[in-house]
Symmetry: C2
């Protein structure tokens, strides 16, 4: 297999624009220099614009999970009650991290493929007045669900809870109004809709969150300690050596994202998502996610009866298209195609064409071209 | 200033071989694939060979400090006594991390520029029988001192203490016999003598250390949790998305290091170091480090009377050579030139030539060519 000539339709890492690659390859230079400080300063300014926030932001040399870890390690003290909105593999990660730091997790269960029931969330808040924090995963990659971020934030504010949001697969691809909606802590990562190679985690922290952090006597984190990052950033430094090639790449990717513009970029992702969904449904698939809350950056598709996960994905790969299977409890039951970062009509149509071809190859009786045409109509 | 045409003589990031750059740029591919698992498996095998260990090793997407953080977070419980051997900025970092996790730091003070006094270390161990851990920085980049790793390890074993070693700037450039000497936990990083861009931290963990980790009820770390990394590596996976370009680069860099061979590589670094020291002394400088314990990967040089730190380094940079100043208490008093990774006679002579030229430019009465000749004699 020639893995250097494969189209990535997986939900991260995504394909990278050649200009971003080029930026990643500028020769390394010292990071304790004004040249790097300028890059870092500009990058943070651009990132804040992309995340629609005026809050402090920091970039960690680490994956998106490093930023999730940082959020909980810096904020949640032993015994603190945390409402974790469930519904997918990444939502579950919030429970694991909460428990790592001695937080008491109070889950609101959500059926995979569905959005949270806001009345249930309110009931849990009513029954547990000591809850201090709420976590949720804005765009749940494992199920293809976009949680209602604005509504969740409204409830968090009404009940005066601090809201910690994993927006790793929404930022840069869908609406994510950090300040307007009121996300107190926002976490994101490089290798999804921001179009940077994996290895950077980002976090936004507002004043309410800083107050919690400042009132803690000891924070069990050194590398991901937010106070250390804030302190260094006063001089536009990182506290530890940054992963320079990825920072160079981020700087260029952020420029390109801002050139395209927030609304244009969201519109493009939403159009691709709609076309992907129409195409898949027309081919004959059922979609996994509740369509009212379908993700605009990744589509989860239920397998047809008799269509084997391993065989389907292997055959797609033979045709040089890499898609993702299901994770956790939906392993073998769904596949996932992402439409992130560079994705346009070209990639969506390619995915649909290839799905049709592979289904035919595997002996399924489908109408060739139907799914593609349905998607084309969306684009037109 | 054209920072893309500067020779890096700083102690990290170092210049990267074009082949490593090329490897870094292979197109991204999914990390949950057999292709990436193979890269990871081979990389860990090569890294173990380079670190002279059969112990478990893991690579974090994070800077070298992430691996230091991991060592303490996973091993040191609240109230545990930790002997921290001091003597430089990076040694001090061990105290900060120890205290972050509630460890009780018991420092053995070491004058900057000197190696630890082993009798003093023994006295501290005798007086504090509850000490469980010893930390030290094998090669102290801030002072140019190579601590006597083998002797320290011998004492740690005699007193049955668990030894945690920062070998970030020795591994790949100087002798570091993890298993033979008995380093229980070894930490290193990508952007020094391993010749990889910054952004990867590595850790080796032996059986004694695992026993401590396994006996702990809760470990305040998620992203850097060693059990999670061990668990994923059983299937040659990383627990979270790895910084793929840096992993690709590491795989190639490790191959090149093993091609050169351990002894050859150490010999080359030691020869460069000797030539650098001879050259600097002949120019008229005093070296900062006790010469019996001089680092073989970075040389710290005391400024001549009347030679201003900012002016010297700025003038060197005008000639397109980037060197490092002093850190912490020796800021303004020393400069540092590294000889790591690709460094050969070419770089050492260049550094000395340029130092001579700049001194003349700044009005110092030195003999042109003397330092360079002294170094050339070492190489011949």
């Amino acid at each position: 297999m020639d893995e250097q000539n494969i189209r990535l339709m997986i939900p991260g890492p995504v394909e990278i624009h050649p200009k971003v690659y080029q930026a990643m390859n500028r020769l390394l230079y010292g990071h304790r220099t004004n040249e790097f400080r300028e890059i870092l300063k500009e990058s943070i300014e651009m990132l804040k614009e992309i995340c629609r926030t005026q809050n402090d932001m920091f970039i960690f040399s680490g994956s998106g999970t490093s930023a999730m870890d940082s959020a909980i390690a810096n904020l949640v003290s032993k015994g603190d009650e945390v409402l974790n909105i469930m519904g997918g593999k990444f939502a579950e990660r919030w429970i694991e991290i909460t428990q790592t730091y001695g937080g008491k997790s109070i889950p609101v269960n959500v059926e995979w493929g569905k959005a949270v029931n806001l009345d249930e969330m309110i009931a849990v808040l009513e029954n547990n007045p000591n809850i201090k924090f709420i976590t949720f995963t804005h765009n749940e990659t494992s199920t293809g669900v976009l949680q209602p971020g604005e509504e969740i934030a409204k409830i968090a504010q009404e009940y005066d809870k601090l809201l910690i949001v994993d927006a790793i697969t929404s930022v840069g691809g869908d609406y994510c109004e950090t300040d307007k909606w009121g996300f107190d802590v926002l976490v994101t990562g490089s290798q999804k809709c921001l179009g940077i190679p994996p290895g950077l985690g980002m976090i936004a922290v507002n004043q309410r969150a800083w107050e919690v952090i400042e009132n803690r006597s000891d924070i069990p984190s050194y590398y991901l300690n937010l106070k250390k990052h804030r302190n260094s950033f006063k001089k536009y430094d990182t506290p530890y050596t940054p992963a320079l090639p990825l920072f160079y790449a981020a700087h260029k990717a952020f420029q390109m994202i801002l050139e395209e513009g927030y609304e244009n970029r969201v519109k493009r992702h939403r159009l691709c998502a709609q076309a992907m969904r129409e195409g898949m449904k027309t081919i004959g698939f059922d979609l996994f996610a509740d369509q009212q809350y379908a993700s605009n950056t990744v589509t989860a598709v239920k397998y047809l009866d008799g269509l084997d996960d391993a065989e389907f994905r292997k055959t797609m790969l033979k045709h040089k298209v890499l898609i993702a299977g299901g994770q956790g409890k939906v392993k073998g039951k769904i596949f996932r195609a992402a439409h992130m970062n560079l994705c346009t009509d070209r990639e969506v149509l390619l995915m649909l064409e290839m799905t049709e071809l592979v289904l035919k190859e595997l002996g399924f009786d489908i109408e060739l071209g139907a799914g593609v045409s349905a998607a084309e109509k969306v684009f037109l």
